[in-house]
Point group: C2
Chain length 339, copies 2
DNA sequence: CTCTGCTGAGAGAGCGCTCTCTCGATTGCG
DNA sequence: CGCAATCGAGAGAGCGCTCTCTCAGCAGAG
């Protein structure tokens, strides 16, 4: 049985430091907060007192008067969806890069029943200064809830209905055009696409962008099958596509996950990739690399986007009256063996 | 230019509720905190006042007096390592499952220079109640730092040197034995293993466990090559192994990532999996599924382990004097096409 | 009928910090 | 040399909550 572990001693308070330094609490506070109007000699005395006492400001007391929690929430889509995806980690990384140097904490949570109310409550209780929402469903009431309460919030992805809300997105249309240009450059003329769900902005834009770009390459009528951004839906979509257009030689799949589902189907139908069919995905997620062959895909600058979301959020926290903004990033094409 | 967005109004305070209900602050506090000694009628009056005012307790004020931050940190290994791995998400999920129902926030951070000091400072400032440390390096000073400061902390993985610290791990030895039994059951007799780095507990235990179990199957001298838990090191290790033992027909690789690196090398050497060589991995990470063929592997109950870590941590927070404990979970074997 | 014991609610003292207000000391200028 | 302006530091009032202490009110015992 180990010896009793006594609770850690209470850390020093401002008054103790003040007493040691022989000054008032206010002066110590000034030194701690870097206020300029403190005599250099006195400042040094105080600093010495701070280090001998091992003083660290109590954050609850500070929060109480400054009305800043010093932390923001990152709300991820419900469970399963994100877990297998490095996207998640890239987002965390991007946000952390901005938030940590400023001493702001990142509180992680996943969307789900009750999350919205909880986040709003946390915000109103002063436990949270703002929230970054990743890939909310269009039906999700949370963004509206937050906007209505005039609480700082930033969305990833253009909202389905135009709202006075700050968001960050990749230029979906341009990304799809990148894929189109690449497929055209590979000399493919019997081109088709598997789109995402057409009730999402990303689904719509990627399809529209791809069609517009292919039209510019002289192919105005690209056949398409709708998927749901999942592996199974990709497999099913490519089956439908092959049934109607067995001679397809160029395929744009609007997400890597769907492409990952589609590739084995192509193989089963005796279509070799990239020789018989060139395949291009979207997202550059881990599944792009897990594909056989590795997938050429449109990459979003996820870290940069996440960092920008964090920046926009902190701006909102600092300047509550600020109007909503949106920032759109440029995608790039990552060429691998599938094309 | 949109209209000015006024800052959200200050939420009601305890006194306002008290005034509305015609009682004292203390009584409202009792109702909010569910203290039993409040007359039922009065309680109802107060509750009505709470809902008409939309009262929500200010958490900073509460923290100030209760000395509870209501949040714990999850410290993940530095960047790259975790990002591609669903392991990360499973851990978050497990922790969140315990922490969220209790209204405790999960603060996410990654290890790195300065993280340790920051976490200790946050703990001492009362911004954090405790920390869950995932896969710390044995050289990491953070666990010792925290233990020395008598701050609540839980580790994933048995520490390299025995310490009075709470940790959770999977039974590595038993996991390796599972792999050994499976390979033996497949009738393989020319068995080898690629171990993890032997300066880590997991590396040691998996090798020792595998050897012991193979010895029990009549193979006391299993050849082995040391890897570093990375894909490249797995590829290099299997090269070395094949050079010395070209006739290997059963291979235990101490991590999926290494197995993922090793499989293409086996193929390149003309060794078919599982016909010529049976391969078993460890971790059941995403790379196990990304392997071709999908990898038979030893699975850790990551969510359960993460949940247990959270529980142990919260226990420590509630009862500071509590001695260190450790919990060991049983692994399972996931059989796929590689065996 | 008085005294004790108990229950339920109010008063008020903090928790540790920030920040405004005030004021003494120093400086500059007429 | 006197007065206003400036600078630096202290006093003290909160921030919103919890929790102990106190006390009023009432029931039951003697």
């Amino acid at each position: 049985m180990p010896a009793d572990r006594p609770a850690p001693p209470r850390p020093a308070t401002l008054d103790e430091v003040a007493r040691v330094a022989g000054v008032s609490r206010a002066t110590v506070s000034r030194v701690v907060n870097g206020v300029a109007t403190v005599d250099a000699a006195l400042r040094r005395t105080v600093e010495r007192a701070i280090s001998t006492t091992g003083y660290l400001p109590n954050s609850a007391a500070r929060s109480l008067v400054t009305r800043r929690a010093g932390s923001i929430a990152l709300v991820l889509p419900e469970q399963g969806r994100m877990l297998g995806d490095p996207f998640f980690g890239r987002v965390v990384d991007g946000v952390l890069g901005v938030v940590r140097p400023r001493g702001v904490h990142l509180v992680l949570t996943t969307a789900g029943p009750g999350t919205g109310e909880q986040v709003v409550a946390d915000l109103r209780q002063g436990r949270l200064d703002g929230a970054v929402l990743i890939h909310t469903h269009s039906a999700d009431p949370l963004p509206a809830l937050l906007t209505a309460s005039r609480l700082p919030v930033v969305l990833s992805g253009r909202p389905a209905t135009p709202t006075a809300i700050t968001w960050v997105d990749v230029n979906q249309t341009a990304g799809a055009a990148l894929a189109a240009d690449h497929i055209a450059a590979r000399g493919r003329r019997r081109v088709a696409t598997i789109s995402g769900p057409l009730d999402t902005p990303a689904g719509q834009d990627r399809l529209a962008g791809f069609r517009a770009a292919m039209a510019a390459h002289g192919l105005p009528d690209v056949p398409h099958a709708e998927g749901a951004f999942t592996g199974e839906s990709g497999a099913a979509a490519v089956e439908r596509l092959l049934a109607e257009h067995p001679d397809v030689d160029g395929l744009f799949v609007a997400s890597d996950l769907m492409a990952h589902g589609a590739l084995p189907v192509l193989r089963r139908h005796g279509r070799r990739v990239p020789d018989d069919v060139v395949v291009v995905g979207f997202d550059d997620s881990s599944s792009a690399l897990a594909c056989d062959p590795p997938l050429t895909t449109v990459r979003q600058p996820v870290e940069d986007m996440a960092a920008e979301m964090a920046r926009l959020l902190l701006d909102q926290v600092d300047q509550p009256g600020r109007p909503a903004r949106s920032v759109v990033f440029a995608p790039t094409l990552v060429v691998r063996e599938s094309s």
